[in-house]
Every structure is written in structure tokens, then in C-alpha cells.
């Protein structure tokens, strides 16, 4: 480096332009005077000598200008070199200093790194779910269209869909899909696929191009067309070997040969991400308005068409309403649309906000902690800094030197942060599907990296600027004069550190309260009584391949044989079939109209879970019969009436004065069907989810010829050990029939608790980190305080002061800070916990017990953190301490 031989010490005073000019003038004047002296010695008069000297010099002005320019360039270059030198020097010194304080350095780097990493991961998840545009062509033109019957959003029926496609003018495309379980068999294994039948224009409407082959065409959707299938990339890889010749091959779906006409690309949108196979749906005009099973997606012609399209939906719905009045009564219901991304994201705003707040607050506390530690460090180095300032280091220079330390720490922290972020994003990608929509799209790129960089920069500034400005601020002489104890400069620093610690407690308190609320909710949820013995209960879903079981008699005999053989297995106490299972798999919610209390014209009818079960079901679940009778075998085939059994919650809801047995109702909006009659009342079971209120359920006889069912088995011992026997039984009956989502009831409950549990664990873990950091903060402040006052304490004790008084004094100092923080935190919590009320179950967002418990825990541990250093101080031998001074 050219400047290397011009290294000047950092207190070197740089020459200003005026100074340069003055020095040149002085130099040249000196020259002329020396020359004149020589000439005088040779006999010239002083005047003549000077005139001669000037004459001999030549062009004085030009020389002056030339020299100034040369010096100016030199100064500029030196200044640049000096800055780089200083920077390198700053970094070198800072690194040395940090290595000398390894515990502090590690503490800062790890905690801030954790904060940066975790905040990045959660932001990444939010970015993927909420901020990234959907990976479809022009996603802002895509909307979901639904029947709007507040608070419910219902899918469309075929009647709705056909009316919409033929009458609408504001959409470029209307597409629809319906989930349809399909059995795939390749001769040896049978498997239930996640499949959808889609309108033939589905892929075109969303702008998805198959990676190989073609999308569906209009001909595929016609009755009698050769069955065609489009498969997902992973299905192609795992089931079709990933070979190119899979295109055009025949695969057996529901026992029918389908030609694979297209293979989707590896990366697809969130609607396709969890699907294996797509077939073209043929939907014929129906005899009645229901059932409602089609999810409809529209592509707007343009942004401008939005309002017109919404209006048109209302118009078409009003036109349609009179036609179907008989089978659909709710005249408040209309058609609405919703941006597709909002539909996909659903209601995760609260969870996302809570998670992000939790991790960001921990990051903030970590920065506060780092700041506090660095202030202590600067305070103890005040003299060193003052010496530097006295030697001419500018204030900015000192600030920069201190900032270099912060930057180094921030860089270290961000390295840890990147590692945590990378690991965390992998984790969320693989297990986060249940919690965050589009979790497979989470990536450490684009805006996520920017957030990471911003967090790093903010960390450096946050925990660097305060101590830096503070450390260089005091008057130099004062700092130099004061002894090594540095007590003079300590006052402001102590005040600042205490403010930081109070802030830490103010942040940790609401976090802990929220964690407490979530944990109590979780506990309440897992304690929910489902209404039956959840041990030794096994269930699984069975889907019959449509073609082999086209004949209803075949299906009936399969189900009968299955139930008979399963019940006879060793270790099995009973077996039943149903179309639903607790705690949250309800196949059908049905509307009905009570004979005694009919819904007013135009009002929506009541809706409850409507379960189809075999008579054995009640025994398998151990439900108690309260009134009337249970369902019987022959009820399934009766045509005069439809007998149902209701549960207690249903009976209480609609017939609070009792006497539900024998009451009649019309179910499903069918006014011409036979009456449905309540024949019995049984004890309650929760079907709609652990966290939902039980609004009553209805049991009807299971149609003997259904295509798909849950097999439910009550075992005598460990349910998991009976599972292989059940599989074996099904395999022996028909190797082409798959058993899917088989699980014990405990596993099912566990699954439904997974989401609240993960959230509680996340928030609780970060609240614990926040608590720990706050404790480290108060401990550090108190340890420092005690160290600074060791002499005073020793004198007091030497003069006969009581140890308890000293302890009380010291601890009181710390607890004053802590309680300010806790009170501020409690106020924040009171104001904000109701924001997460929707995530709570069985506990009030302002639950006083939790507020009190958290405060008590905080005060106790903070007391310990204050007591430890205080005790150490009072135990020291006064004579030894005083000698040291």
C-alpha cells in the first residue's frame, strides 16, 4: 500500500488547507531570507539583497500554486489511508478486547444470534404465507367464489357452478375442484390417494403448465371420454418410477384404467401441493340444489372488473334462488368472492402476529442485555478512552472505535443467526405444513435475507450506540482525575443500565403471561372430556374401489364381513362402522327443520354434526342411553320413517324441557322425504373439535352400501398391537382395499393438539429465554453495583453495621428496578392479551391467577438474582477489601 510508509498515529493532526498554504509561504520566505543573508554578507544592502533573492527565485506565484496543489493531493490521500488504517486498527483492537472477555462475547453473540435467527424464521414463514404472491399466473386476478351465509362460507353445488359458468360475463375463466378420495392399486398394494376432480380448464385458469404431457381438454370432461389423469411430480417419482415412459401409461384408479396425460412440475401452488392425482370431473345438472362440494375459483378479466364481478355474483344468485327455493331455504345467503390468497392463508393472522412478536421481543431483550453488558465494559474503560481523547482522538473516532466492537459482535451474532435461521427454516418447511399455509415455499432469500441484514444492522446500532455515545461523552479531565474506581463516570451509566434492565422485565412479563395463558389453554384442551373412554380405541378409514364394488350387494357383504371378522379378532371387544369419528372427523353437517319449531321463512335452519353409524357404535364408544332406544339393524332399511338418536346436548338445545324422544323433523331441506324421528337420547360426544362448543349431534343408521367408512375398534389391551391384525383382516378380505389414517384415539387427540401445543411451546421457550436474559441483566447490574460499593459496604460492616441491613439495602436497590419493569409489563399485558383471545381455550385473557402467578415467579427469581451478589459482598472480609484499595 502506498500509504503504508505514511502511517501516522491516530492523534496526528491533519493539516487544513489554510495551514498548508501558510506553511508553504513560511518555507519560501525562509528560503528568500537565507539567500538575502548570504547576499548581504557579500556586500549588498538589505533591500537590494532581498530584491536580488526574489529575482533569482523566479516565478514565485506559480511555485506557490504548484506546491499547494501537490500538498493538497498528499493530504487527501493521507486522510483516506488514515481512515482505512484506523478502521483496521479499530477492528484489531476490538477483536483483541472481545477475545479477552469470552463470556460476555459468547453471551451476546449467542443470545442476539438466537433472536436474529428466530425472528428471521418466523418472518420467513409469514413472508411465504402472507407476503409472497401466489405462484400462479397473475394471482391478483384470482378469486374464490362461495356461498356467503355469514358466518359460514359454503362451497358451490353443481347447480350453482353450472349457472355461474353459463351466466357470468366478468370472469375470464371459472374453474372448480372437489376433493375425491381415489384408490390406487398397482396389483400388489392398494393405497388411498389424495385426489381431486377438477374442471377441465382448472390448470389453464390458474396458469399451471404440466412439466410433461398436457393439461385437460374439454373432451376429457365429456361423459364416456377415455379416463385421463394428471399426476403430481412426487407421485410420478414415487409410484411411477420417475421414468419418461410414465406419460401415456395406464394406472388403475378406483379399479379403472386411466391414461396419464400430464405430469405437474415439482413446484406447484398451495392448492396442488398436497395432492397426488387429478382427474377431469364430469358434473351433470342435478335434480336438486345440493350437495355443496365444489370449490370455485374465478379469474377476473381485469382489476377493473372486481366491483362489476361482485355485483354480477349477487345478480346471478338472486336469479337462481327461486328455482331452488324448495331445497334451499336461506334467503340471506348470497354469492361473494374473496381474493384467492386470502382464502388460502385463512385465519393465521393472530398466530403469526403472536409468534413474530414473541421472537422479536426476545431479540430486543437480547440487544438490551448486550447494551447493558457493553455499558459496564465502557464504564470500566473510561480512563483508557479519556487518555485517547486527550491525545487528540476525536469524539467521532472514539465512538467509531466503540461501534467497531458492536459491529463485530453483530456480525458474530448474525453468523449464529444465519445458522439458526437455516436450520429453523428447514424444520418449519418439513413439519410446518400443519401450522402455516405454503410452508413449503419458505426460503432464505429475497425479503427474508433483507430482514436478516436489517436485524443485524439494528442489533449493532441498538447495543452499540448507547454505550458508545455514553462512553465518550464525559469531560476528559474528570475521567482522568478520577481514580481507577471510576465512580464519577458511573452514575449516568448505572442509570442507563437500570433503565435497560427495567425495560427487559417490562418485555419479559407480558411474554411470560401469554406463555402462561397458552399453557393453561393447552392443559384445558387436553383435559376436555370427549364423552367416552379414549383408551384402547382404534380407528381407520376404508375406501372401496368404485368399479370392483359397483354392485351394492358386494359392498354390503364386504362391510358386514369386515365388521364380523374384526369383532372376532383376539383382543377386540367390539367393532363398529361409521362415516365420522371424534374428535374432529365429521363427514356431514346437516340442516333440519323441527316439526314443532319450524324455521321462519327465509331463515336458515339449524345445523349439527350428522353421523351415520352401525348399531354397534354406541357400545364400542360406551355411550349411555338416557331415553328411548338405540339404533337397530332394521332401522337402516326402513322407508316409512328415518329413525335417529340424538345426544343430550342436542336434546337440551332444542327441547330444554325434555321429551325429545318421538319428536319429528325434516332433514336436509327435503320436504317430501319421510319424517325423521328421534327414537333415543344418548350421552354426549364431541365431534366438532376439542376447542369447539358441543352444540349437539345426531346419529342416523349407516347406509349399508356406502363406498367409504371408518372402522372403529374397541380393544381389550393396547390398541396399537391390534392394528396389524386389523390390516391383515382387510387384506384377506380384499387385497385391493386400503386402510388409511389408522390411529388410536390417543394419537388422534394428540394430532388435534399439535398446533396449540407447538405454539405454546414456541412462546413458552422464548418467554423462558426472555426471563433468563432479564435475570442475567439484573444480576449483572447488581454484581457491578456491589463491586463499585465494596469499600463502602466493608466500612459499614467494619464499623459494626448489621449484615441484614446491608443485604436489604443492596437487594432493595435491585428490586426497585425490577418492580418498575414488572409493573410496566403487567400494564402492557392487561392492554394486549385480549389480542390473542381467539387462541385461548377455557381461560380468560385477563385471568388474574396467571397474572399473579407470573408476577410472583418473576419477583422470586429476581430476588434471588439480586441476593447472590449482595451476599457475596457481605461475606467478604472487610480488612481484605480495604487493603486492596
Amino acid at each position: 500500500m502506498r500509504h503504508s510508509n505514511r502511517r501516522r498515529p491516530f492523534w496526528y493532526l491533519q493539516r487544513s488547507a489554510d495551514r498548508v498554504a501558510a506553511e508553504i509561504d513560511e518555507e519560501l520566505r525562509g528560503h528568500l531570507e537565507m539567500r538575502a543573508d548570504d547576499l548581504q554578507r557579500r556586500g549588498l544592502s538589505p533591500d537590494a539583497a532581498m530584491r536580488e533573492a526574489i529575482r533569482r527565485f523566479g516565478d514565485l506565484d506559480t511555485t506557490r500554486q504548484y506546491c499547494r496543489e501537490q500538498d493538497r493531493q498528499l493530504e487527501a490521500r493521507v486522510r483516506r489511508g488514515l481512515m482505512i488504517d484506523e478502521l483496521l486498527q479499530d477492528i484489531r483492537i476490538s477483536l483483541r478486547g472481545l477475545v479477552r472477555a469470552p463470556v460476555m462475547t459468547l453471551a451476546i453473540v449467542l443470545t442476539v444470534g438466537l433472536g436474529i435467527g428466530a425472528t428471521t424464521v418466523i418472518f420467513g414463514a409469514i413472508d411465504a404465507a402472507l407476503l409472497r404472491p401466489l405462484p400462479y399466473a397473475q394471482p391478483n386476478h384470482l378469486v374464490r367464489i362461495y356461498t356467503d351465509s355469514a358466518p359460514n362460507r359454503f362451497p358451490f353445488s353443481v347447480a350453482d357452478y353450472l349457472a355461474l359458468t353459463t351466466q357470468q360475463t366478468q370472469f375470464a375463466q371459472i374453474a372448480a375442484y372437489a376433493s375425491r378420495p381415489i384408490v390406487f392399486s398397482d396389483g400388489t398394494i392398494a393405497e388411498r390417494l389424495r385426489a381431486r376432480s377438477v374442471s377441465w380448464n382448472y390448470f389453464d385458469a390458474l396458469g399451471i403448465k404440466p412439466a410433461a404431457g398436457r393439461a385437460f381438454e374439454e373432451a376429457d370432461a365429456r361423459r364416456g371420454a377415455a379416463p385421463a389423469a394428471i399426476v403430481s411430480y412426487s407421485f410420478w417419482q414415487q409410484r411411477l418410477g420417475g421414468h419418461a415412459d410414465a406419460l401415456g401409461a395406464a394406472i388403475r384408479l378406483d379399479g379403472v384404467g386411466h391414461t396419464v396425460v400430464g405430469i405437474l412440475p415439482r413446484a406447484v401452488g398451495p392448492l396442488e401441493a398436497t395432492q397426488d392425482v387429478f382427474v377431469a370431473g364430469h358434473w351433470d345438472p342435478p335434480p336438486r340444489k345440493g350437495p355443496f362440494f365444489l370449490t370455485v375459483i374465478g379469474r377476473l378479466r381485469s382489476d377493473a372488473a372486481r366491483t362489476a364481478a361482485a355485483e354480477e355474483l349477487h345478480v346471478i344468485n338472486r336469479r337462481l334462488f327461486p328455482i331452488w327455493k324448495a331445497s334451499y331455504q336461506d334467503d340471506r345467503a348470497t354469492w361473494s368472492m374473496l381474493d384467492l390468497d386470502a382464502f388460502i392463508v385463512g385465519d393465521i393472522g393472530t398466530i403469526a402476529g403472536l409468534a413474530l412478536t414473541a421472537v422479536a421481543l426476545v431479540w430486543l431483550i437480547a440487544c438490551g442485555n448486550a447494551s447493558s453488558l457493553l455499558i459496564a465494559r465502557v464504564t470500566s474503560r473510561r480512563r483508557e478512552l479519556a487518555v485517547r481523547a486527550a491525545l487528540g482522538a476525536s469524539r467521532t473516532r472514539v465512538v467509531r472505535y466503540l461501534l467497531a466492537e458492536s459491529v463485530l459482535l453483530a456480525v458474530g451474532a448474525s453468523a449464529i443467526g444465519v445458522a439458526i435461521a437455516a436450520a429453523g427454516i428447514d424444520l418449519v418447511r418439513s413439519v410446518g405444513a400443519g401450522y402455516f399455509p405454503r410452508s413449503s415455499e419458505i426460503a432464505l432469500d429475497g425479503p427474508v435475507l433483507w430482514v436478516l441484514a436489517a436485524l443485524t444492522a439494528a442489533s449493532a446500532l441498538l447495543f452499540g450506540l448507547v454505550p458508545a455515545v455514553h462512553g465518550s461523552g464525559g469531560p476528559v479531565e474528570e475521567a482522568l482525575r478520577s481514580s481507577g474506581r471510576g465512580s464519577t463516570g458511573g452514575v449516568a451509566a448505572r442509570r442507563l443500565r437500570r433503565a435497560l434492565v427495567a425495560a427487559q422485565f417490562a418485555i419479559a412479563t407480558p411474554l411470560l403471561i401469554v406463555a402462561g395463558l397458552l399453557l393453561v389453554s393447552l392443559n384445558q384442551l387436553s383435559g376436555v372430556d370427549l364423552g367416552f373412554d379414549t383408551r384402547n380405541l382404534l380407528s381407520g378409514s376404508i375406501q372401496l374401489p368404485m368399479t370392483q364394488y359397483a354392485d351394492a350387494g358386494q359392498r354390503v357383504s364386504f362391510w358386514n364381513e369386515l365388521q364380523r371378522r374384526t369383532a372376532a379378532l383376539p383382543g377386540v371387544a367390539g367393532a363398529a362402522l361409521a362415516d365420522s369419528r371424534p374428535p374432529s372427523d365429521v363427514n356431514n353437517y346437516n340442516n333440519f327443520d323441527l316439526e314443532d319449531f319450524p324455521a321462519a321463512s327465509g331463515q336458515s335452519q339449524p345445523v349439527t354434526p350428522w353421523l351415520a353409524v352401525t348399531p354397534e357404535y354406541f357400545g364400542v364408544f360406551g355411550l349411555t342411553l338416557l331415553h328411548g332406544r338405540l339404533l337397530e339393524e332394521r332401522d337402516a332399511t326402513r322407508t316409512d320413517v328415518q329413525p335417529i338418536v340424538v345426544d343430550r346436548a342436542w336434546a337440551r338445545r332444542f327441547f330444554p324441557n325434555g321429551g325429545a324422544v318421538g319428536k319429528r323433523l325434516r332433514s336436509g331441506g327435503c320436504t317430501t322425504c319421510p319424517w325423521t324421528v328421534v327414537v333415543g337420547v344418548v350421552s354426549d360426544v364431541k365431534y366438532a373439535g376439542l376447542d369447539k362448543p358441543d352444540e349437539g349431534s345426531v346419529y342416523q343408521p349407516l347406509a349399508p352400501q356406502a363406498m367409504s367408512r371408518f372402522l372403529i375398534v374397541r380393544t381389550r389391551a393396547d390398541a396399537a398391537r391390534v392394528l396389524p391384525l386389523v390390516r391383515q383382516t382387510i387384506h384377506e378380505l380384499d387385497a385391493g382395499v386400503p386402510l388409511s389414517s389408522a390411529a388410536t384415539m390417543e394419537e388422534l387427540i394428540d394430532q388435534s393438539l399439535q398446533r396449540p401445543r407447538s405454539l405454546s411451546v414456541l412462546v413458552a421457550a422464548f418467554a423462558a429465554v426472555a426471563l433468563l436474559l432479564s435475570l442475567v441483566g439484573i444480576y449483572g447490574v447488581m454484581a457491578y453495583y456491589v463491586q463499585q460499593h465494596a469499600k463502602d459496604i466493608s466500612i459499614r460492616l467494619a464499623l459494626g453495621g448489621r449484615r441484614a441491613d446491608v443485604l436489604q439495602l443492596v437487594v432493595g436497590q435491585g428490586m426497585k428496578v425490577v418492580s418498575i419493569g414488572i409493573v410496566a409489563g403487567l400494564l402492557t399485558a392487561v392492554a394486549s392479551t385480549r389480542l390473542i383471545a381467539s387462541l385461548l381455550f377455557g381461560v380468560n385473557a385477563a385471568d388474574a391467577r396467571i397474572f399473579a402467578a407470573v408476577s410472583a415467579v418473576l419477583v422470586t427469581v429476581a430476588l434471588l438474582a439480586c441476593l447472590l451478589p449482595a451476599q457475596r459482598a457481605t461475606r467478604a472480609e472487610p480488612a481484605a477489601v480495604l487493603r486492596e484499595e
Partner: protein, 111 residues
């Protein structure tokens, strides 16, 4: 001392002269001028203006360093010393000059 006027300095040799005069130790501008004058018996005289321009140019090029110091008669003068790069430059330029002078001498000797 010669009786005729001093010769003008050839372009490009000025820097070499200044560097070589500074080789033994620090000197101020006036000292350099007189040293050149005396060592050549008045045959060579560096114009003062050119000398100072050269000194500041050499300083900018990091070939010399300057520092204020006391001179005779209680004045302050700017003393110049060679830097390490200046010494290296002097060695190279001196060799070049000698080769050049020998070559010119050889041509003249042949005439």
C-alpha cells in the same frame, strides 16, 4: 569558481539531483540549492522555483518526507529526508543516468 554562467538543468535530471543531495541526511531547500551549486563548482544551478516544485512533488510521491526543524538564525525551516521509496528510486535513477552518460560519452568519443 567558474567564470561563465551556470548550465541549465536538463529536464528529468532535477529529481535525481535533489534525491542524491538528500542521500546523506536531512536538508532544507536552501541547503539543497547551495549544495548543488558548491558541489559542481557553480557549473549547475537549480532555479529556486523549480527546486521547490520538485521537493513538493517528490513529497507527494512519497519519495521524501518533510519535517519542520530549527535552522541557523533562529528560523524554522522545512527539512527533507529520503523515504525508503526515495532511496530505492535514487539507486535506480543513478544507474540509469550513468548508463546514459556512458552511452553518450561513447558516441562522442567515436567522433
Amino acid at each position: 569558481m567558474s567564470t561563465h554562467l551556470p548550465m541549465p538543468i536538463m529536464q528529468g535530471t532535477l529529481d535525481l539531483l535533489v534525491l542524491s543531495v538528500l542521500a546523506p541526511g536531512a536538508m532544507h531547500g536552501y541547503g539543497i540549492a547551495t549544495a548543488v551549486h558548491q558541489r559542481t563548482d557553480g557549473e549547475l544551478a537549480i532555479p529556486d522555483a523549480a527546486l521547490y516544485q520538485a521537493l513538493h512533488r517528490l513529497e507527494r510521491q512519497d519519495l521524501v518526507e518533510a519535517e519542520w526543524g530549527p535552522s541557523d538564525n533562529n528560523r524554522r525551516a522545512r527539512y527533507y529526508t529520503l523515504t525508503r521509496a526515495g532511496r530505492a528510486r535514487l539507486r535506480v535513477e543513478a544507474v540509469n543516468w550513468r548508463r546514459y552518460a556512458r552511452a553518450v560519452e561513447a558516441v562522442l568519443a567515436g567522433s
